[in-house]
């Protein structure tokens, strides 16, 4: 079980791989769309990689609710 800091670090690695945003930019308060400029196609890729990495399921209706990096960290922490 990863703690929140580990989840954030793992998520930042995935974001870097998919859209090449520096891991330092990926902080809990950032919005995926408004701050990090990640489109819906890339969000699907990030979600699939996160599912594999953290052993969670992120259904599409839940994915749509994950507005910020912090939202995603909380969701993964709760469901892993």
């Amino acid at each position: 079980m990863a703690d929140n800091a580990e989840i954030l670090a793992g998520l930042a690695e995935i974001v870097k791989d998919v859209v090449d945003i520096d891991t330092a930019e990926v902080t809990a308060d950032k919005s995926f769309v408004d701050d990090l400029d990640i489109d819906s196609l890339s969000m699907v890729e990030i979600a699939v990689q996160a599912e594999d990495k953290f052993g969670v399921k992120i259904p599409d209706d839940q994915l749509a609710e994950l507005k910020t990096v912090g939202d995603a960290v909380d969701y993964i922490a709760k469901h892993q």
């Binding site: 998919v18 859209v19 090449d20 819906s40 196609l41 890339s42 699907v44 890729e45 699939v48 599912e51």
Partner: protein, 418 residues
């Protein structure tokens, strides 16, 4: 002279990535040096050759991988045929001195026309494998934009903010040449001021090779890769599959002059016809090919005697080459000097007509025609002068570039000296 005629179309930039080089200059230099882009592909990167025990173990892959040129994240969102289009377009755009997108040409006056023979076939296959083996969640959300045949044109349009229009002609091996013709139409009609035009292809994979093998069109000279592509030679046994992209920046002469652009060539006219004869085989009488050349002359306001050189489609297939040579003789006479660039480049399918148009234009500009490689014994059915052995210095006033495609597509493009 009060200035150039308004409908005169000029080339103000060009770019290419081919089996001979990562840009147009290195490709041209390699052609003049007589180098071949064909090599053995029985290696790990092309494991399907061994896995499927294919009888063809040669191809003409790119000299420089687009992955070595494009940023990683940008590249992973594109099929290889889109990557090569973006690489060649970048060279052409910079070559034309168009600066930051939107700074020299208004986005609303910029069009893109980039053809491909089959588009993102490799993506389609890879993603289908993922669906079969790993299920829906592993299929990339980028699958459709990566496999669609308008993908190369669309990515280039996005890159340079082209908002007049984006088009993707699909006419098999004539696609790249047809794209240039469409660009001329757009410019003459005043629908755009600048057009990024050409062709892109990257489909060297198991099923395409197997399909061409079954159609009996590929050379199986596996033990001598560099000698395999031999258009017009009596011992030819088929073409060699290549990959790449070629892009030209086209504009009306007065537009180019007004912005002080350097002009590298003049696209004087084009002719497009269709055979309606057979889905793959050329009309033995060559009617469609002959009419395409005649239309390309008429469109340029030239007569047969004005044409000094023909850059042939000649793929190194048994039937195709002789038929083309007969058609050229009927359409133009026997004074023209021929060459067959596929002897060095292989057959780049949808990119061929665009890259070979660049070669044609450079032949005029530099007054030199690259040799047809491996032409040791001219097929007796070819009653024309084909450059072989060494490149030949020829002062060329006008030249025709031929491109034909499965489906009976015939495109001839006329270039003239600046």
């Amino acid at each position: 002279m009060t200035g150039p005629a308004p409908e005169e179309i000029v080339v103000t930039g060009y770019g290419a990535t081919t089996p001979l080089g990562g840009d147009a200059a290195s490709t041209w230099e390699a052609m003049l040096a007589g180098r071949s882009g064909v090599r053995n592909i029985d290696d790990d990167e092309h494991a399907w050759v061994r896995d499927r025990d294919l009888p063809v173990r040669i191809a003409a892959p790119l000299a420089v991988s687009p992955l070595d040129v494009l940023p990683r994240v940008k590249a992973r969102r594109m099929d290889r045929c889109e990557q090569v289009a973006v690489v060649a377009a970048q060279e052409a755009w910079n070559h034309a001195g168009l600066g930051e997108p939107g700074s020299v040409v208004e986005p609303e006056r910029l069009s893109v026309v980039i053809g491909t023979g089959i588009g993102g076939a490799v993506t389609l296959l890879d993603q289908d494998d993922l669906l079969e083996t790993a299920g829906l969640r592993k299929v990339s959300p980028l699958t459709v934009p990566m496999l669609m045949p308008n993908g190369p044109a669309a990515w280039v349009g996005l890159e340079y903010q082209a908002r007049a229009s984006v088009h993707a002609p699909v006419s098999a091996c004539a696609s790249g040449a047809e794209a240039l013709a469409w660009a001329v139409r757009l410019l003459r009609a005043g629908e755009a001021d600048v057009v990024i035009a050409g062709g892109a292809e990257a489909c060297i994979t198991g099923i395409t090779v197997a399909g061409f093998v079954q159609a009996r069109t590929l050379s199986q000279r596996n033990d001598e890769p560099e000698r395999a592509s031999r258009p017009f030679d009596a011992d030819r046994d088929g073409f060699v599959l290549g990959e790449g992209a070629g892009i030209m920046i086209l504009e009306r002469a007065e537009h180019a002059a007004a912005r002080g652009a350097q002009v590298h060539g003049r696209l004087a006219g084009y002719g497009i016809t269709s055979d309606a004869y057979h889905i793959t085989g050329p009309d033995p009488e060559g009617h469609g090919q002959i009419r395409a050349v005649q239309k390309a002359l008429a469109d340029a306001g030239l007569s047969a005697s004005d044409i000094d050189h023909v850059n042939c489609h000649a793929t190194s297939t048994v039937a195709g080459d002789v038929g083309e040579a007969r058609g050229i003789k009927k359409a133009l006479g026997d004074h023209v000097v021929l060459t067959a660039p596929k002897s060095a480049l292989g057959h780049m399918v949808g990119a061929a007509g665009a890259v070979e148009s660049i070669v044609t234009m450079l032949s005029i500009r530099d007054g030199i025609i690259p040799a047809t490689l491996n032409l040791e014994k001219l097929d007796p059915g070819v009653e024309l002068d084909v450059v072989a052995g060494e490149p030949r210095k020829v002062d060329i006033g006008a030249a025709v570039c031929n491109s034909f495609g499965f489906g009976g597509h015939n495109v001839a493009v006329t270039f003239t000296k600046v």
